[in-house]
């Protein structure tokens, strides 16, 4: 490419980036003359250069843009978002022409009449109907001039050439000048502006302190310095081996200089992260306009430097995240005010150094992640299964947004939400050896934390050994080192030949590096081993190695393509002793672990879930409830345990009989009842299927909303039939359905059977004798929930008292840990069910809900039978 043209392209691209930022800043503070002057000067320069090189299309756009900006500068026009949008649009047009230029070295065909006309119209005050266009505006080409012109513009006799679009002939210009009645006003302003421009120039300082250097030169410099560092390391190693050497002093000096040189060259590659942020204010502004949200972008730590290679790679993920924050994070002004926040949302971008890494935080003060929606979405998209959904913590649920193919955006906007969202961001960040995490508080906002290495060229690595082999492991993913062995505090244990380690309060899945790499290990189980505890994404695991040598700064060398296909390695490096070793890729290693890890974490999760459930029981029975809507917009609920299946049936298959709607379902007729609304005639109809004994019944609802687990405190109300009462579920008042009522409508036999079951249970009375308040609290609500009347006694004496007061107990649940059940046998004719907190006795274990309820049921039947016999 022509040197002049390539220079122009580079320079103009830089200028345009600045213009973008400045314009957004200018829009928010239209009084800032310095900003406006800067914009004006840059656009003016672009125009001038275009004219010089001979790029008429660019020149005319820049000219029209400059005219409009000139109006702002002279105070002739007020700055409006529409006008700024227009200027930004012209900047975009210039950019697209530039892109074409750099590809083909020629301006693309076509013209920009539309845009120029708009710009001129704006300059004439077309966007500001309230203000009459000032007289000075008249000096610009009247719109008519443009409409008359053909492709080559009009002929201007004074200049001896055709006019360019947007240009005015000399004669017209002079006429315009003559028509202006106040020339002194015209003259005063440019002087002031010129002074301001000079001031700006002085602020920018002399330009000679920086020079442009080709990136390739820097790259090759970096490579050579890397080699130098390696050679230095080799020399130093040799020096250590010899006791006394005349080379010692000069070598140490060489070593020092090399380190400094390395630093310097690294610095040349360093760029402030702010250069990757340049486009963001514009993106936030545009997103804000598109979404009609008010968003401020606050940037902190723009000067934080990092390697330009890393910088390039982080640009796109950052842009995507900012868009995401605009779209999903910050709420609409109305929602914000409703939530008691200011109308304008803030997205904060922050960068800082932390121990050889750079941390970038993207935070918003929006609504925070909607845990339930993510959970539901993850279930729907099969990212997790139902058991996982129940046992995962909120933070774990939040991290699901990084799962591939996951997007919770209710509607797809052009800002984000095309389903290729955060997983791509995560992949890109991990590609450069970084990590990403997030924190979210409902209603308070979300913070994403990206941790990336300063540079990719030199990384800090842990050198580990397995048998004869040595490998380098990037320090970033290493959390800690644990020594395990027979004589150590930590021991490696096995579950079905899967190795695990008890580390503090959790089980750490282990994998041997020799297994990952398929190395032949015939030395048997070693006495001791080192465990490198690693964190890769969500996976935490221990890597068993024989030895851990040292940490070393290593220069990452790419692998030959023939080897590059192996995911276990990310490169190779040369150590100080000259040996080549392979660099392990934590992600690749983690993959071979995940199978084992999943099984272990599942087991751990189940244990945690079980204990959580027990805890929940202690504080009161929690019930899983199915939320749906039927007939009214308010959610309704019924206990999930009652529902056999959820179905979506084709309404066209419904048949109407004398007893109401029926549908063929699983080879038999199923009566249908409408829960509030009406049964649809066409399309899909969501159905809750209930079954009892042999009969099946379907309840038609409008939509199935959610499944929640909550304490069910029903406030009874008897106003509406079919409603048991209302309960507060997830902060919303929810009507709890009396399922039996609706089902009775559809199938009277059902109601009869249910009533029979209900009466049989409700009349039975149970006395629970248990010394532990914990078990009394846990068992009593549980037995009550199963339909019995429960009375509680703490010890034998109290139990006797209760029986004496009211002997009509059907069943006595007696804790064998504190009482001898036989002691109660004589007093009451109730059936005694022995209970125990242990599982190894004949008594019914307290922890087994089903066994306990079964035992009560059996006892009741037995007693009824005995009574029947007696009668």
């Amino acid at each position: 490419m022509d040197d002049l043209l390539s220079e122009f392209l580079t320079e103009t691209a830089e200028s345009l980036d600045v213009v973008d930022i400045e314009l957004v800043r200018f829009e928010s503070s239209p009084d800032d003359k310095a900003t406006l002057n800067n914009i004006f000067r840059l656009v003016h320069t672009i125009k001038g250069t275009c004219g010089f090189i001979g790029l008429p299309r660019l020149e005319s756009i820049a000219h029209a843009g400059e005219t409009l900006l000139g109006k702002f500068r002279d105070g002739a026009l007020d700055v409006t978002p529409e006008a700024v949008t227009l200027v930004l649009a012209s900047i975009d047009r210039i950019k697209s022409i530039l892109a074409h230029l750099s590809d083909t070295q020629a301006e693309p065909a076509g013209d920009d009449r539309d845009l120029i006309a708009q710009l001129e119209d704006a300059a004439e005050g077309g966007l500001q109907s309230k203000l009459p266009p000032p007289v000075v505006a008249k000096i610009e080409a009247p719109p008519a001039a443009i409409e008359q012109g053909d492709d080559n513009g009009r002929w201007d006799a004074d200049q001896g050439r055709y006019l360019r679009p947007g240009e005015v002939s000399l004669a017209e210009l002079e006429a315009a000048f003559r028509s202006v009645d106040g020339p002194e006003v015209r003259e005063a302003k440019p002087v002031a502006v010129a002074a301001a421009e000079h001031e700006e120039d002085r602020k920018a300082g002399p330009g000679a302190s920086t020079i442009r250097v080709n990136v390739d030169v820097l790259e090759s410099m970096m490579t050579m310095v890397s080699e130098l560092v390696l050679t230095r390391n080799q020399l130093m190693q040799m020096l250590r081996a010899t006791a006394d050497s005349q080379f010692k002093t000069p070598l140490q000096r060489l070593s020092g200089i090399t380190a400094e040189l390395q630093d310097c060259v690294m610095k040349t590659r360093m760029q402030p992260i702010g250069s990757a942020w340049k486009k963001l204010p514009r993106i936030v502004r545009d997103a804000g306009q598109d979404l009609t949200k008010k968003i401020d972008l606050v940037m902190e730590g723009e000067a934080t430097e990092l390697d330009r290679q890393v910088l390039e790679l982080i640009k796109d993920p950052l842009t995507h995240m900012i868009r995401n924050s605009c779209d999903h994070g910050v709420e609409t002004p109305a929602d914000r005010i409703a939530a008691g926040k200011g109308e304008t949302g803030t997205i904060k971008l922050r960068a800082y150094h932390e121990g050889g890494h750079i941390i970038i935080e993207v935070s918003d003060d929006g609504a925070g992640l909607k845990t339930d929606r993510i959970r539901a979405k993850a279930l729907e998209k099969n990212v997790i299964d139902a058991a996982e959904a129940m046992s995962m913590t909120d933070a774990q649920i939040h991290r699901l947004i990084f799962a591939p193919g996951f997007s919770t955006a209710a509607k797809v906007t052009n800002i984000s939400g095309r389903g290729v969202g955060m997983d791509v961001v995560k992949t890109n960040v991990e590609l450069i050896g970084g990590t990403i995490d997030l924190k979210s508080r409902q209603g308070a906002g979300t913070t994403f934390i990206i941790k990336i290495p300063l540079t990719l060229a030199i990384i800090s690595a842990l050198i580990v050994g397995v048998g004869e082999h040595r490998f380098a492991m990037p320090q970033l993913s290493v959390l800690e080192l644990v020594r395990a062995g027979k004589r150590c505090e930590h021991k490696i244990e096995t579950i079905n030949a899967t190795r695990v380690l008890r580390l503090r309060d959790r089980l750490l899945p282990l994998v041997a590096l020799s297994d990952v790499l398929n190395l032949i290990d015939d030395r048997g189980e070693p006495d001791h081993a080192c465990i490198v505890v690693m964190q890769v994404g969500d996976t935490r695991f221990g890597l068993i190695v024989d030895e851990v040598f040292d940490t070393e700064e290593i220069v990452v060398k790419p692998l030959a393509k023939r080897l590059g296909s192996m995911s276990e390695y990310s490169g190779a490096t040369i150590l100080g002793d000259g040996a080549v070793i392979m660099i392990l890729d934590p992600n690749g290693v983690a993959k071979s672990v995940s199978g084992a890890e999943r099984a272990i974490s599942r087991a751990a999760d189940e244990a945690a879930a079980a204990s959580a459930l027990a805890a929940a029981k202690a504080e009161g029975e929690r019930t899983s409830l199915l939320l749906f809507s039927a007939g009214s917009p308010e959610p309704r609920a019924c206990p999930l345990s009652l529902v056999t299946r959820l179905e979506e049936l084709d309404a066209s298959s419904f048949e109407v009989t004398s007893r109401g709607h029926v549908v063929q379902y699983r080879g038999r007729l199923m009566p249908l009842a409408a829960a509030g609304g009406s049964i649809r005639r066409e399309g899909k109809q969501p159905i809750l299927v209930f079954s009892q004994g042999d009969s099946v019944i379907g309840l038609a609802v409008d939509t199935i909303l959610d499944i929640v687990e909550d304490r069910l405190d029903i406030e009874l109300n008897d106003t509406a039939p079919g409603i048991l009462g209302t309960a507060v579920l997830k902060g919303r008042s929810t009507e709890i359905m009396d399922v039996g009522h609706y089902l009775g409508q559809a199938d009277p036999a059902w109601a009869a059977a249910a009533a029979q079951l209900e009466t049989r249970r409700a009349r039975k009375r149970v006395l629970l004798v248990d010394a532990h308040p914990f078990f009394r609290n846990m068992l009593a609500p549980m037995v009550t929930a199963a339909g019995y009347d429960v009375t509680v006694a703490a010890d034998l004496q109290e139990a006797r008292g209760r029986i004496a007061q009211d002997a009509a107990f059907d069943v006595v649940l007696a804790d064998t840990d504190i009482t001898d059940p036989d002691a109660l046998a004589g007093i009451s004719n109730a059936r005694i069910v022995p209970l125990s907190s242990r599982r190894d006795t004949e008594a019914v274990p307290k922890s087994d809900r089903h066994a306990l309820l079964d035992a009560i049921e059996r006892a009741v039947r037995h007693k009824d039978y005995a009574l029947g016999e007696a009668a």
Binding site: A560, I574, V580
Partner: protein, 152 residues
């Protein structure tokens, strides 16, 4: 009549030739680091004057018995540069440089083993033996690339 210079070398009992211009250098592979999980023909990686060289065992690549020489350092490697990457092809013995007529190159005999014919450009009939001209690209590309090369 155009002639070309070939470096000759021996793998097992067979003499091979490679155009002089293709060979970067000849070196003794020392301190080779094996690469677990890699294919059998990858002998390892090694440091050659600050560059990381991927060493390929020619015997293994050609399906010949593994060398009886206990350490690779007793063997020789010819260095080749391909697409900015450095490779070392481990051979048994290096021979002299011969100048041969291009027109005398004969096509591979049709009954030649598939692996061999894929890496052979043709054969020269020398006075006392046959010289197989090696296609270095295919030799380096690995066993998997053969089918695609044949298909193309």
């Amino acid at each position: 009549m155009s002639t070309q210079e070939f470096v000759t070398f021996r793998i097992c009992d067979q003499m091979f030739g490679v155009s002089v211009s293709e060979i970067h250098d000849v070196f003794r592979p020392s301190a080779m680091t094996p690469v677990p999980l890699s294919g059998p023909e990858i002998a390892g990686v090694l440091n050659l004057r600050g560059r990381i060289v991927t060493a390929i065992d020619a015997r293994s690549r050609l399906g010949l018995p593994i060398s009886t020489k206990s350490t690779t350092s007793q063997r020789l490697a010819i260095g080749v540069e391909r697409h900015g990457e450095s490779f070392g092809l481990i051979i048994d013995e290096i021979g002299e440089v011969v100048r041969l007529e291009e027109s005398e190159l004969e096509q591979n005999p049709v009954n030649l083993d598939a692996t061999w014919s894929s890496v052979s450009r043709g054969v020269y009939r020398l006075e006392d033996r046959l010289l197989v001209i090696m296609d270095v690209d295919r030799m380096l590309a690995g066993a998997g690339a053969e089918d695609t090369a044949a298909a193309a």
